[in-house]
C-alpha cells in the first residue's frame, strides 16, 4: 500500500470501500450521522478511508455472516447493482 496521501475517491476505487459510516449513534428516535468528516480535506478523508480499509483487513479472519436468506428464496449478487 502506497504511503502517498490519496483522496477519498481514489481510496474508494482502490480498496472497494464504498461507504464509511461512523457510529453507531445512540439516539433512539432518528438516525444520526457524523458530519465532522465533511469539513476535512479530501486527502485527510482519504487517510480515514485507508485506515478503515486496514481495519477491515485486520478482521478478515473473524467474519460472521448475518442476515443470510433462507435457501429457497436466494437471489444471486449482481456486479452491476448500484451502490448503497
Amino acid at each position: 500500500m502506497s504511503e502517498t496521501p490519496r483522496k477519498v475517491d481514489a481510496v474508494c476505487n482502490e480498496h472497494g470501500v464504498l461507504v464509511v459510516r461512523e457510529g453507531p449513534s445512540a439516539n433512539c428516535s432518528s438516525i444520526g450521522s457524523v458530519v465532522d468528516t465533511l469539513f476535512i480535506t479530501s486527502v485527510v478523508g482519504g487517510a480515514l478511508f485507508v485506515a478503515v480499509a486496514a481495519a477491515v483487513q485486520r478482521e478478515r479472519d473473524k467474519v460472521t455472516v448475518v442476515g443470510a436468506p433462507k435457501a429457497d428464496d436466494e437471489k444471486e449478487e449482481a456486479d452491476d447493482a448500484p451502490p448503497p
Binding site: V17, E22, C28, S29, S30, D36, F39, V65, P69
Partner: protein, 379 residues
C-alpha cells in the same frame, strides 16, 4: 466483523471500532469471502429503534410519543423475540428507547438479551432519576445518549420543566462509569442560540458526542406550538455555518452528528451539497422504512419512531407492512422538486413527519430551503 451480503457487495460492522463499512464485491472477495445470496424483496434495515417501554414520568412538553407514567411495557420474553428477529434479518444496531428505558426494573436483562443475539446495542435516556443499577445496566452498552438541550432555562424551555441538573449529573456519572456518552440536543428557535454553550457544557461534563436533533411535530409536539418552536427560516439559512463553526470549535474533542431530518435544512451549505460525498461518509437523510425501522412497545413495526401507529404489522410480518412500503414507494418515485434535486439520493426528501403535519401529504419537506425556493418559483 459482522458482514451482510448485498447485491452490490456487503455491509460490514467492525468489531474493534464502531464503524459500518459498505464494501464492493471485489473487496468482499479479497477478504476470501465467497459471494453470498441476497433474499428477494426490500432489504432489512441497518438500524432499528426499539421501544422497550411506553412509560415515562418526565412529561416533556414536546415528547414525540406522548409517553405516560402508566404506558405499556412489553415483557422481557417479547423483547427477546424481537431482538432475535432483528438479528435474523441482519440488523446491525438496535437503539433502545421508549418511553424512558430506565423505568424498566430489568433493563440489564434487556441489554444482555439484545447482545446475546449479536446486536450492537445503544440507548437514549433522559438521565433523570438515574440509580446505580441503571448505571450498571447502561455501562454494558456501546454508547448512551442523554437528552440535554442546555442548562437552566434553555432545558426548561424545550422540555417544560427544570431538569437540566439531572441530565448533567447523568452525563457525569455515566462518564465516570466508563460509558461512551453523547448528548441529544433538540434544536428549537429558543435553544439554537445557546448551542455552543450547551455543547461545551456537555463536553466539560464528559460527553464525547453531540447529536443535533430537529424538533418534529409528533406526539405532544404535534400542535400549533410547533410553529413557534421550529427554527426560523433565518436560523435555517445560517445552520450550515453554525454546524461548521461548532465542528471547528470542538476541534476533535467530541464528534458532531446530525439527525436524518436536519440534512435538508443544511442543504445550502457547500459541505452538504454533494450527494456522493454525503453517501461516502455515511451521512443519511430520511431512511425511514429503508435503513431504519422502529419497533413500537406493542411490537408493531413502523418506518421510524415518529411515524406509524400500533396498527403496523408485527416485526415477523414486516415485509408486507403498508407503512414501510409507502415510504419505499415514495423514495422510488419522489415528487418535485425532490425528483430533480441533486441531493435526493442522500436526503430522501426530508422529514415526512414535518410534511404530513404542515401540508397533510407524504411529500417534500416544506421547511427545506430548496423546496421553499422551488415553491417561490412556481408560485
Amino acid at each position: 466483523m459482522r458482514l451482510r451480503h448485498e447485491e452490490w457487495g456487503a455491509w460490514a460492522m467492525l468489531d474493534a471500532e464502531p464503524v459500518l463499512v459498505a464494501l464492493h464485491h471485489d473487496a468482499v472477495r479479497a477478504l476470501g469471502i465467497s459471494p453470498g445470496a441476497v433474499a428477494p424483496g426490500p432489504r432489512p434495515p441497518l438500524e432499528a429503534h426499539v421501544a422497550v417501554t411506553e412509560r415515562c414520568g418526565a412529561g416533556c412538553v414536546g415528547c414525540y410519543v406522548d409517553a405516560q407514567p402508566d404506558g405499556h411495557e412489553p415483557t422481557l420474553a417479547e423483547l427477546d423475540a424481537r431482538f432475535a428477529e432483528l438479528a435474523r434479518l441482519g440488523v446491525f444496531v438496535v437503539a433502545l428507547g421508549g418511553g424512558e428505558p430506565t423505568t424498566r426494573r430489568d433493563l440489564g436483562d434487556v441489554v444482555r438479551a439484545a447482545k446475546r443475539h449479536g446486536l450492537s446495542v445503544v440507548a437514549t435516556t433522559s438521565g433523570l432519576g438515574l440509580r446505580d443499577e441503571h448505571i450498571t445496566a447502561l455501562s454494558e452498552l456501546t454508547a448512551v445518549n442523554v437528552s440535554y438541550d442546555g442548562s437552566g432555562d434553555t432545558y426548561a424551555d424545550v422540555r417544560g420543566f427544570r431538569g437540566s441538573s439531572g441530565a448533567e449529573s447523568a452525563i457525569t456519572r455515566l462518564t465516570a462509569a466508563g460509558v461512551h456518552v453523547g448528548v441529544n440536543v433538540v434544536l428549537t428557535r429558543q435553544s439554537l442560540p445557546q448551542l455552543e454553550t450547551t455543547v461545551l457544557r456537555a463536553i466539560e461534563l464528559g460527553a464525547r458526542e453531540v447529536q443535533l436533533l430537529r424538533y418534529k411535530p409528533s406526539g405532544r409536539a404535534r400542535s400549533l406550538d410547533y410553529l413557534t418552536r421550529r427554527l426560523t427560516p433565518e436560523q435555517v439559512a445560517a445552520l450550515g455555518v453554525d454546524v461548521e463553526a461548532l465542528v471547528s470549535r470542538l476541534a476533535g474533542r467530541a464528534r458532531v452528528r446530525i439527525d436524518c431530518a436536519l440534512l435538508p435544512l443544511l442543504s445550502l451549505h457547500p459541505a452538504f451539497s454533494d450527494a456522493d460525498a454525503l453517501k461516502k461518509h455515511g451521512v443519511m437523510g430520511c431512511e425511514a422504512g429503508e435503513n431504519l425501522w422502529a419497533v413500537r412497545a406493542r411490537g408493531s413495526v413502523a418506518p421510524c419512531s415518529f411515524t406509524g401507529s400500533d396498527e403496523g404489522n408485527a416485526l415477523t410480518e414486516a415485509a408486507s407492512d403498508t407503512g414501510l412500503s409507502a415510504f419505499r414507494a415514495w423514495n422510488s418515485a419522489p415528487d418535485e422538486p425532490c425528483a430533480s434535486c441533486t441531493l435526493f439520493r442522500a436526503c430522501k426528501g426530508g422529514c415526512k413527519v414535518v410534511s404530513s403535519f404542515l401540508s397533510d401529504a407524504h411529500g417534500p419537506d416544506p421547511e427545506c430551503p430548496r423546496v421553499r425556493a422551488h415553491a417561490g418559483r412556481v408560485g
